[in-house]
């Protein structure tokens, strides 16, 4: 796929410095490590899905996890916000640090962790509620808004940031399930950012969408990276090249190679990475 070797990648290789004014943690310069994973092993029952994965995810940038199906990239993603806890028989070892704190530490409540680390899934999963209620869900359960006015403001701001406001402003009280697939996915992103997370995990967020909706989401991801640390799992190497600043290539449960996106795509060190991105397997 020659399109992946687009010239545009080269300009994106260095994570640009963005200072977000409305967020305390973003006042530090971009680039520091937000998530630091060391020797992460994940087991589903007897089967080991991840082998000694160590990866640094920088703040205020998009990190793409690529690799063939079943390579463990989604598993790694789900262990960052401990969604693997919900799978019976799943065990995680090793350290995953979020701002230096081990997320698997006993003192960390997964509920609090997940409020800090939002997640967007492969298939849009709006709740069978109104658009407004979908976005207000997180602020409500976390008691973020103090009044109706503030809640409405949060909903509006989140929808605007997700680029959906213009399309739904006049039908906030209609079911979220009535939107198109691409709109639903942006609604879900709005829902995730309504609780002001620090990290947003995206598990193949565009695989159920058409190219136009995909382009829309990619634009959105690019805008969001000013304020959030984003980790995205994707099957599309073109997408990884377009939206990410850092890319990690997984294969058979191991992290083969990670580095600046431009380097991975133009000058991979490992032959497996080379083979995968040139479409020789996967």
């Amino acid at each position: 796929m020659p399109s992946q070797r687009d010239d545009s990648i080269a300009h994106d290789t260095v994570a640009p410095v963005h200072i977000a004014v409305d967020r305390a943690h973003a006042s530090q310069p971009a680039g520091p490590i937000k998530i630091r994973a060391r020797d992460v092993n994940v087991f589903y029952g007897d089967k080991q899905a991840l082998f000694d994965v160590s990866l640094d995810v920088p703040e205020n940038s998009v990190t793409a996890l690529i690799g063939p199906s079943g390579c463990g990239k989604s598993t790694f993603l789900r262990s960052i916000n401990r969604m693997n806890d919900t799978i019976p028989g799943c065990k995680v070892t090793g350290r995953i640090e979020l701002d230096g704190e081990d997320v698997n530490d006993r003192s960390i409540d997964p509920v609090v962790l997940r409020a800090r680390v939002g997640m967007v899934f492969q298939k849009p999963n709006p709740f069978p509620k109104t658009i407004f209620e979908n976005v207000a869900y997180g602020p409500r359960i976390h008691g973020i808004a103090t009044g109706k006015a503030e809640l409405e403001e949060i909903v509006e701001r989140s929808l605007k940031r997700a680029g959906l406001w213009a399309e739904v402003a006049d039908r906030l009280h209609q079911p979220g399930t009535g939107l198109s697939g691409g709109q639903q996915q942006r609604l879900v992103i709005a829902r995730a950012i309504a609780v002001s997370p620090e990290v947003i995990l995206m598990d193949e967020p565009c695989s159920a969408l058409d190219p136009i909706a995909t382009a829309r989401i990619e634009e959105l991801i690019d805008e969001l990276r000013n304020q959030y640390c984003i980790v995205i799992v994707t099957h599309s190497m073109a997408q990884a090249a377009r939206v990410s600043q850092k890319t990690a290539f997984f294969h058979l449960g191991k992290l083969v190679e990670a580095g600046p996106t431009g380097e991975i795509f133009t000058n991979p060190r490992d032959s497996r990475t080379q083979d995968y991105i040139t479409g020789r397997f996967g």
């Binding site: 916000n81 969604m83 919900t86 019976p88 509920v111 609090v112 962790l113 997940r114 409020a115 800090r116 939002g118 997640m119 899934f121 298939k123 999963n125 709006p126 709740f127 069978p128 509620k129 869900y137 997180g138 359960i141 976390h142 399930t177 879900v188 829902r191 995730a192 609780v195």
Partner: protein
């Protein structure tokens, strides 16, 4: 006997046709069955079906209705002596003639003179008719089988689409089966409506639906006009409603909460143990629940309330105490509570299915937002499952309304219009049972009122089921 021989012969003939047709089909391709349109077996089946099916159907129809035909023909021209008899006497006469002819047990009526001659003549004719019909049906069957082979055999050839034809026959069989079920239902409804209509001629429908007094025994007395206000079904409706409410108060929370536990909180191991255990409850015959209610729960409840009454007597609640002292074994509360226990597995297993049908992605979405499990259940899973749960509860209501055994044994027979759960009440189903068991005459409003009650019950449960299924359908569309 003749019929069995004929059917066996037909079967053998069909089998032979199968072999012959199959061989012809294969031979037509010069030994290369691959050139056939269908597999060789289909050619055999096609011919065998043409030979066997119509003939067998005809023989069976004659076997079923041959007796009726014989009787009709026998009665066609009654001799003068017989014509002089009354209608019931004529019935006995012809029954005797057929009994003599076929070696049965005739009645003890003495026939003399002309009547005796007529009887002998008719008996001879009956024997003759029976032979005629039996041999006739077999002969017709043989003709049909031959016609079948004439039609089917020449068609066999490589281009012939035997598979499509055979599948057509099979589809016909399936249609016949489903039509049977539908016709039976239609027949039951028709008989309900017809008998109810007869009942409503004796007792005006508004009196039945809105009358406050239920005492069908009055109709037994010949000196009293039947429909004078003793057929007011309101006490039965109220009793049914009361017991249903008590049952749902027990079944809905327990069933629903156990469903939530099973689908959202239980580990797979617990679930694999608890769910079958709950479903064992569903396998207990209702009559067992019935005597459990009447012999175990009833006395326990009674002694409990009597004890409370004894404590209250003489105090500031003396009246209540006196009342509780007199509570009987049979009360709405016992029947309702036991019926509720019977409905628990029904509610829990339906709700469990419905809650499980809520997509996992919704739970993941909520959990990933930092919601706790209970917030996820309360705010996402239950609202999504609510229509389905409502439908499950409505289905449980319709079962509670139609349940008979427990109430017959534990609720009592006295038709009272009361909402007091400690009182004995009676239900629609209990009354139907008491009205129709034992020897009954089928022209009195007393017996016919059972059909009126049955029709009411049918309409109510039908409506509940339709509403419930509608809700479930709507709910399904939401996610598919």
């Amino acid at each position: 006997m003749l019929i069995w021989i004929a059917l066996t012969a037909l079967l053998l003939f069909s089998a032979a046709t199968y072999m012959a047709a199959r061989r012809k089909a294969v031979a037509a391709t010069g030994g290369k069955p691959v050139l056939l349109h269908s597999l060789p077996g289909y050619y055999g089946s096609y011919a065998a079906l043409w030979v066997g099916a119509p003939a067998a159907l005809l023989i069976l129809l004659f076997a079923m209705f041959g007796g009726r035909m014989e009787e009709a023909l026998l009665r066609a021209d009654p001799p003068a002596a017989v014509q002089a008899l009354t209608a019931p006497q004529q019935d006995v006469f012809f029954d005797d003639a057929r009994a003599i002819a076929h070696g049965g047990q005739p009645s003890e009526t003495i026939y003399e003179g002309d009547l005796k001659t007529a009887l002998d003549a008719k008996a001879a004719k009956a024997a003759h008719l029976q032979n005629l019909i039996q041999y006739g049906s077999v002969a017709l069957g043989a003709l049909l089988a031959l016609a079948g082979i004439m039609i089917a055999y020449p068609r066999i050839g490589p281009q012939f689409r035997a598979r499509n034809k055979v599948e057509g026959w099979i589809a016909g069989l399936f249609i016949a089966c489903s039509v049977t079920a539908i016709l039976t239902t239609a027949g039951i409804v028709a008989s309900l409506v017809w008998e109810s209509w007869r009942f409503f001629q004796a007792v005006p429908i508004h009196e039945f639906l809105f009358g406050m007094e239920w005492n069908p025994q009055i109709a037994m007395r010949a000196d009293q006009y039947a429909g004078t206000g003793a057929f007011g079904a309101v006490p039965l409706f109220v009793g049914t409603f009361l017991i249903m409410m008590i049952a749902m108060l027990v079944a809905a929370p327990i069933g629903l909460y156990s469903a939530i536990y099973l689908s959202e909180y239980a580990s797979p191991l617990t679930r694999s143990v608890v769910k079958p255990l709950l479903e064992i409850l569903a396998g207990v015959p209702t009559v067992v629940y019935g005597f459990f209610a009447a012999l175990t729960v009833g006395p326990i409840f009674r002694s409990f309330f009597n004890w409370i009454g004894a404590q209250l007597v003489g105090g500031s609640f003396d009246g209540l105490g006196q009342y509780l002292m007199q509570v009987q074994n049979q009360m709405a509360l016992v029947a309702g509570a036991v019926m509720g226990i019977m409905l628990i597995p029904f509610v829990s297993s339906l709700s469990d299915d419905i809650i499980n049908a809520v997509p996992q992605s919704l739970r993941d979405g909520s959990l990933a937002m930092g919601a706790t499990r209970s917030e996820t259940v309360k705010k996402v899973v239950l609202p999504a499952a609510l229509p389905g749960i409502m439908a499950a509860l409505l289905l449980a209501v319709s079962r509670a309304v139609g349940e008979t055994m427990i109430v017959t044994m534990a609720a009592g027979l006295q038709a009272k219009t009361t909402l007091n759960p400690l009182d004995t009440v009676t239900t629609v189903t209990v009354q139907i049972v008491t009205l129709l068991t034992g020897d009954q005459e089928f022209d009195s409003p007393k017996t016919l009122s059972a059909f009126g009650l049955g029709l009411t019950l049918f309409v109510v449960t039908l409506m509940l089921n339709i509403i419930a299924l509608r809700i479930v359908q709507k709910y399904r569309e939401q996610y598919d």
